[in-house]
Subunit: 417 residues, 2 copies
Amino acid sequence: MVDAEIVAIGSELLTPFRQDTNSLFLTERLNAMGIEVRFKAVVGDRRADLVDAAKTALRRADLVIFMGGLGPTEDDLTRECVAEALGRRLRRDPDIIADLYKRFSKWRTGMPANNERQADVVEGAEVVPNANGSAPGQFLRVEHAGTARTVVLMPGPPHELKAMFDREVAPRLGKGRQEEFIAARELRVAMMPESLCDSRIAPIYTRYQDVETTILAGAGDISLHLRARAASLEEADRRVASLAGEIEDELEEAVYSANGEHLEQIVGYFLQLQGATLAVAESCTGGQLAKRVTSVAGSSRYFVGGAVVYSNALKTQFAGVPPELIAEHGAVSREVAASLAEGIRSRSGSTYGLGVTGIAGPAGGSEEKPVGLVYHALSDGRNTEVVERKFPGDRQRVRSWAAQQALDMLRLRLMRQ
Amino acid sequence: MVDAEIVAIGSELLTPFRQDTNSLFLTERLNAMGIEVRFKAVVGDRRADLVDAAKTALRRADLVIFMGGLGPTEDDLTRECVAEALGRRLRRDPDIIADLYKRFSKWRTGMPANNERQADVVEGAEVVPNANGSAPGQFLRVEHAGTARTVVLMPGPPHELKAMFDREVAPRLGKGRQEEFIAARELRVAMMPESLCDSRIAPIYTRYQDVETTILAGAGDISLHLRARAASLEEADRRVASLAGEIEDELEEAVYSANGEHLEQIVGYFLQLQGATLAVAESCTGGQLAKRVTSVAGSSRYFVGGAVVYSNALKTQFAGVPPELIAEHGAVSREVAASLAEGIRSRSGSTYGLGVTGIAGPAGGSEEKPVGLVYHALSDGRNTEVVERKFPGDRQRVRSWAAQQALDMLRLRLMRQ
């Protein structure tokens, strides 16, 4: 088993505003190659700190990946600090210099002398081409303190790093023999509280010692990430598929996706498959339901449109809700939700209509109708189904839960079609 | 100057799916107290790795904050590993034990023996109450390898950590004398390319050596974070205000907020101030414009509602766009945008109407009307203004740019009112 440490370099990554996200990409790729990430570190652009972080990583990990600090400015210290931590010199590479001059001449500008620093290479390192930028990477296998180490230097901008890793670094890492393979799968579960979901599946996944299960919960939306390691990819796949199957048997139709698709994608598949169309009339979700449906490319094939009806007048005008109905039951009611769904369906001529009305908060709640109370309705022209829910959390969370509930009603209806 | 290292503990933080975000909160709070974060580390639930990370941090930082690994399970090793790194013992605190038994009796369940581990305290540490959970924190000042160190252990769940830091840890840290203060401000800039913005303000902010400027760019939305350190809070505030003033003079009305408010909040302020109302008719943004406007609490006071008009039929039905106009100019045209804005305004009776129509992609583009082409219109009943833009990026980015452009047109109009 190869152990890795990822070191992200840059003072901006130590502010409250910015965060390393490259390491998530790298972890996914490294895991797929059977390499485990044991440590992550973030360090700023100070020479002493960077040397310290490099020495610490080289002491404890077989593979050390440094990201960032390869540009031309005075703050870009990764090359020299890694060399110092390894006790090696830098050499200035003439091919890189020539390449830099070529680049700058193409832009018809002189090259600032600073840029030559990008040609500094740690003694013994291989230069790794950068398809998307001027700073090349470096790849090095060394004996360090009596142990074999692999050291990689990559640029920080995500589009440079990702392309360089996949094209250049992964093949070089793969040259060692691979002892372990990792398979992964993502199941998604709608409208189930996290604690209930976990209590139902824990007895299952705890029996799979070789599959790691990570549960991430959003508003009415749970992701179950399953990852197995095995001596072959087939074996890893088989274990993940076996656990996924058992979980699907337990949770039944609450599992809406076995491959990580989002609920709006699943609903879109079903609508297209059945040649059906959708229109929505939403109050408290304020456009979020339409936004999610239309975030899917090609959604114009099944999404007719919708109305965001905050005022009572618009509920009547766009969705045909009778003013008397609102006066009698209130805008947040089972009856108005049903009328929104029916009205938007008949006015737009769509197969299905969804209506949502509720109290997202923070104000507007009462004892009888508290913040978080939402009515969701689905109409197909013959029947109208209404679901009443009381959601937890703040305004944004209530809106997210409500949009998810509306989409899930539609999914369940389409599945039974 | 006090230097800090933040160590996040938990194997889930070394997967591709989860990331430490507590450190952003802590960094903001620590910075405000004049404490600089020099290193961040992430380590899993392995004993040897955790001891290694603790020793590394204690060697190089004055203040070390450990987050996570304080629960009752076998995987929760922070207490014993920090004790080992410090060369100290753990003592089992009888008050914590008593407290745990009280908690469990309230829930009318027996306490699993495992839970007693939460009462283990590093020798010499003060127990820090946890208002939102069962695992207390720990606070310790030690001499370590001849240097004064402050060591803090906090639970990982964000709502526990945040409350504990603000109520319990910050006052304890503040007891040392504070030598530096940090002031911060966030300016926000609409619809300006990042490179143009930077080239205009770089000559200004580079003159402020004592103010750190961080530029974060979204789709048509730039955040400028300014942070100054000084010997007094007044001096730090003065320096930040001075730089902010110069930047506002340079960028003029492109700066829409001087205190970090989002564009939809600013638009909401202006609408309320002027007693005006808004309705929107959106095609390619698919609900995103309405969603942003309604994400502001209290937006029902000025947002009447909107229509998401994907199909041509709904453009006519909800916003009164004449079918001939669509036939003549196409759904994506200057004329249809204007008609959407005018139609939604007059039908909903709002003061202002916004209309958006464009091609978000990935399909649907042509040579004449490429992906990214969007028309934005603003009508006040007398005049209708139309802006044509060609946005870069993928479907989500084009939608974000377009919603931002529509909101910004309205902001500029309201400012000049």
